[in-house]
Amino acid sequence: MDIDYHRSTNPCPLRGAFLSQGAARLNFVALLLWLNHHKWQRWLALTMYTTLTLSTILPRSVLAQSDDETLLGSSQLIYSLSSPLSEPTSEPLTESAEALLSETSHPNAFAFSALPIETQVDMQISGWVNRVQVKQFFHNDTAQWLNGMYLFPLPHDAAIDSMTLHIGERRLQGEIFPKAEAKQQFEQAKTSGKQASLLEQQRPNMFTTQVANLAPGETLVVEIAYQQLVNYQAGEFSLRFPLAITPRYDNDPAVTSSPANGNYAQAKLLAAKKVGSASSVGKVNLNIHLDAGLPLASIDAPYHRLKQASLEQGITALQLTQTLAADKDFVLRWRPELTQAPTAVAFAQSGKTHRRTTAEDTVLADKQGGENDYAIVMVMPPQAEHAEKMARELLLVIDTSGSMHGDSMAQAKSALQYALAGLTPADTFNVIAFESTVQTLSTFALPATAANLGLANQFIQNLVADGGTEMAPALLRAFAHTSPDELQPSRDTRLKQVVFITDGAIANEQQLFELIADHIGDSRLFTVGIGAAPNGFFMQRAAQTGRGTYTYVGKLDEVSTQVGQLLAKIEHPLVSNIDLRLSDGTIPDYWPVNIGDLYLGEPVMVAVKLKSNQHQYQSDELIVSGNFGGSQWQRRVGLQRDDKAKGLDLIWARKQIEALMLSKNSSNVERVKRQVTQIALDHHLVSPYTSLVAVDNRVVRPAEQMSLDGIASTLLPQASMGQWPQTASESRLFLAIGSMLLLLLGAYWVSYAGVMQRGLLMCLQRIRGKRCQYR
């Protein structure tokens, strides 16, 4: 396609770069005032000059607080290139479409309109599993045929397995296909005038639904269903549903009215206005059926108000009535009565949720020895009051390279001091600071005595941020770190925790990753990334290899609190080296494979796949074992098949996909893609490489009418791994202030040194003199 390229000259010069007529007049008045000798008049003139200079130099955006922010989200898309794939439509434009697209330079340009989306969320919580149905109502209140697209967030661990398109009374079940194929089917339906819907994953927690050929006045409903495990921590269950609303950028004249793209963008703006962008923030209805299976002590939603009603058999119905904080996700927490705290739960289901029906597959399944069972296992380790706290060696590794200079360093320092304060005399510790070189507090880990802690605090205080970022030597140093009594095996039960704090980018990530995998041994690696620069993906993988966690701190003022939370959590390691096997010694297929250590109040939570016959005839028990307070800890969990348990295979598959995606690197991209596609297709799951699509076989849109694209996006995903870097500096502000001051000084000098005054007076006198002569 041909792109008419315009190199746009700056359509908006700095405001005030030229003086308006009014300003010139003001200037003249000021000059006249100046010439009078009264002091107050001079001051007035000086003030006028100041104002003038200010308005000349400073663009309006500094002086006026812009109110360009609204809490109503709608399309964030300002303009985009019409895709080369979309052929110019031969269909003539309808009258109103022409009005919308008036003066559009591209005949096939998209027109974007904001679609109001109403959402109905129904949650069925039964025990540990949450089944959620999300209904999205695409309503077209224009006189146009519309294609709707809605970008929305879901929880990052949602296993989406079903999409149903409701057309009036009829229901079309969505089928799973590889992403490209699904997209193709949908686009075909769209151009041929059939109604269809498509559900794609954009990011692990962002999805789009699209509907094709929405008739004027019609409402299409897309129903999505997903499966999710509820969180359990310290005796409290919780779940999260994204409802936070993103601020929207109002179309700014600087962007939308530049000559090159003006027509195009304005056409869309027009379209958006016509369709009614104000109503584009969708209404959300939320209903919850909570069947905890246990008597509940409390139910609580911190940011939303709920209506609560008790149904039969301990089921509670909840309904969202009011949103208290628009920028917060919906969070629901419930706590069973204290005596009922579960210690081990396992339930299984036989077969998959979505079975294939073709003969081939049945044969295949028979060969493999029947269908598989899927189970969810939760084991709560014994709590701290019964046991000794595990002794640990805490290694604090901190980046003191130049980029940490300033606020980051101060925050990191206070976080380190917080960490030291949490040590008990049984623990040992060391501090390693690195830049281009590595600097350590001591050659060996020190016992956490008052004297040693004092030394450490002093060491931390004296750290200065400067130099480059060389991570490898620091990591090697941390992993190789040994205590002086290394030869005594009795001290080996110490759990070594490495907390690695950096804001730097990681360059040679593959090398570093191999280094960590080779040297990690029994250490635990907790990575903490600060600011916009850290390589979050790498840090997350490194932490997973090191059986630790990754903490990302975007805002600098949150460093000490976030790191504090991490350190408080890892202060109480309870069980380490957790393994899972069946009672006959075989190891089942379970995810996540690397079970991290368990800390106070945390359960083991895994999804397991078992061969049906195996589990029925040979071993009915799963054995969870680990290292607890220096001795072996083990718990047997009987597997019961539960008729109520549903969708466990989806959770198993979702966890496996997550692990595979995390293992992705340059060399295995294609392999991971194939594996994930296969798993997702087997389990009917939406994934980065598979989408759900439903196509009606009836043609509804007359061929002579065109359909416009509408887009809606209101909700913000849960905090993602990253932050936009700060991409502005004060250079121009400084230049402006400097030149303003110089100008003022100049004006002052001109007046008091009397240059202008004298000159003018002389001139006036001369004129008078001449006049006198003439007289």
Binding site: S61, G468, A505, S729, F734, G738
Partner: protein, 210 residues
Amino acid sequence: MPVQIRAHRHRIMLLVGIVAIVFLFKGGYMQAKAHFAQFLIEQAWSDTLNDGKQHKPWSWADTYPVAKLQFVSGQGQLQGQALYVLAGASGRNLAFGPATLMGANQLNGWGNTVIAGHRDTHFAHLKGVQPGQLLRVQDSSSATIDYRVVSIQIVAEADTRLLDGQDDLQLTLVTCYPFDSLSAQSRWRFVVIAEPVAAKPQIQLASVAA
């Protein structure tokens, strides 16, 4: 009061003059640093192209160049100065040049490469970028790929979904918005999304479901 002020007016004038010059120097230094650092980075970049290793532009630097970015007109002519992109978008690096956010991607290989730059220096001319603009990116293996701008978006600072990774090759340029604001803080980001011009042949997945 005025009398006293008049008595000290030379001192006040001197003080104001010094303050003005300090501000001018500070602002000018930032601009100059951004401008001239690019020459040093260019040297490091040509070293990198020669031997394929990472070179620091100056000995105490915390970063190294990873790419060369150029704006190309529709007729295939280069526009403006080439920009040398540094590794790691920390505040310090951004003062010297545009910088990449390190993530799950490989420049000119796969995934979404995000390059950030200051709106008042290196990325000031993003203001004139239109959809369809061509961008040329050279990586350390001397391979060059042309990208075409497909969309431009303005997003809130908290809305980072355009940052997230994906598999297909994509180039994302980001700077603060609005362009003519003077402050060092901004709530908005101007995001330019570009896709490779000659789409790489994608390996089609055998349709397992069919």
